[in-house]
Symmetry: C2
Subunit: 275 residues, 2 copies
């Protein structure tokens, strides 16, 4: 693999030299936010949406971003040029900064990294299996560094041979740790939770597509509605639309990705990949 | 100030050179645990209790500690000798390690830092003012790096001119972000929450002292009991026993630290400082 470069504040440096002092509030207190987007053939996908959300997360978590939006966009473009990857993922992390007392927010550190990866350009034919887990993310409208629950659950997923986990709280669906969740009702309504979860960029664009084709609602979705759902899928930057065919060991429909999911995935992929 | 040394894994280095690569799971996902104890005149206070809790937190959060207990204790002693401070605080952080995929737990990084500080050896005469806030810490029995809520609330405390915040959930008291909470009822019962919060080392020793002097219970304590309390105090490594005299703008009793609080503080300080 080629040596990859990353930004740490104003320095574009090889990733193995990229470090932060241990006084950073991310190391001391897990405090920070981030965003993540993909590049396809060297071009960022929905970059402005992700920058919108990055700055919104920063405001929600009281982090001042020293760099302007143009400056961050320029650094991203310079990083893409320097690393010269094809398809990739780019992560922008903003930490709480070097805090003298280890508790107060300081001047944030801005880190931008890139890693190579290829997202399958056709929808996965098989679909995935998920389990459900009671949990409500704190500061759910911000993309914070808090993934304690998600990381802690990984061995549980492995044990239950599940691919992902769906959080729910007070009888309502929320989200997967790194994806949003959609169901399709028996009468072809497309539903996704409307609050108390991170509003994904893929979710946003899928909602737009879906609204033109099906009755579509972003609102509270109950566990009962999940049990009665005909189809389900998750959406994320790294997975696009990914069908869910098993939930807590129960198979949805005939165990194959359903028609509405296929139709939406086809349309979404056409927008992202132009084919 | 003298140059302070810290341990980063096997290296004892000046703190300004102490850094972790940005691929560490603390920077990527806020994942890690820690513990914190004080030294008085160069001697660790309740070190074995803190090591017990450190290893328990690690197990709860699925982090493997490569170093043995004796090795960590030896490093602490070497750090104390090297920095040669009098009274200080020592923090042991265990992060999720350098994670190739930025999501899976790797070999943890062990960081041990020390900072000078003096805890007032007599109980504060004035007492503090607190506000209450609905919140339940996740993985509450582990001392994780998750202080999102506490750090986010700091401007709120400032605005309300409060010194600390008491979390409560479902009508029950939990804890302060960095301290445990006790109340004294009108009939001199000493009560502190018994579950769903971090079990502090100071709390443990105060409970032992209190059980020999007053009717003492560690069990669910309701917001109603808080409203009817005669006295209240918090306990922590950096604050020992600190009286609370105002809660959400309401003054407790005559606004002065009460008799039970004073008695317990005097006894606790005698154990810690021998006077």
């Amino acid at each position: 693999m080629n040596k990859l470069y990353v930004w740490v504040n104003d320095s574009l440096i090889p990733s193995e030299e990229a470090s932060v002092n241990i006084s950073d509030l991310a190391v001391q207190r897990g405090y920070g936010i981030f965003d993540f987007f993909e590049t396809v053939e060297g071009k960022p996908v929905f970059l402005e949406d992700h920058l919108d959300r990055f700055f919104r997360s920063a405001v929600l978590m009281r982090l001042g971003v020293k760099q302007g939006r143009d400056e961050i966009r320029n650094r991203i473009m310079e990083l893409i040029k320097k690393n010269n990857l094809g398809d990739s993922g780019i992560k922008i992390i903003l930490t709480g900064g070097f805090s003298p007392d280890g508790f107060s927010i300081a001047e944030p550190n801005l880190i931008i990294t890139q890693q190579e990866f290829q997202i399958p350009r056709a929808m996965l034919e098989k679909g995935i299996s998920i389990i459900t887990h009671e949990y409500q993310r704190q500061f759910s409208d911000a993309k914070t560094l808090d993934y304690l629950q998600a990381i802690w659950l990984q061995p549980v997923l492995k044990e239950k041979k599940a691919d992902d986990v769906l959080y729910h709280s007070n009888g309502l669906l929320r989200e997967c740790p790194r994806a949003n969740f959609f169901i399709i009702t028996k009468d072809n309504k497309v539903l996704t939770p409307g609050s108390e979860m991170l509003k994904g960029i893929t979710r946003k664009h899928v909602l737009e597509i879906s609204a033109g084709m099906y009755e579509t609602e972003a609102r509270d979705v109950s566990m009962d509605e999940l049990r009665n759902a005909k189809e389900a899928f998750i959406t994320s930057t790294t997975k696009n639309i990914l069908p869910v065919v098993q939930i807590d060991g129960r198979t949805l429909g005939d165990g194959m990705p359903g028609e509405v999911t296929r139709t939406l995935a086809k349309e979404y992929n056409r927008i992202i990949y132009g084919s």
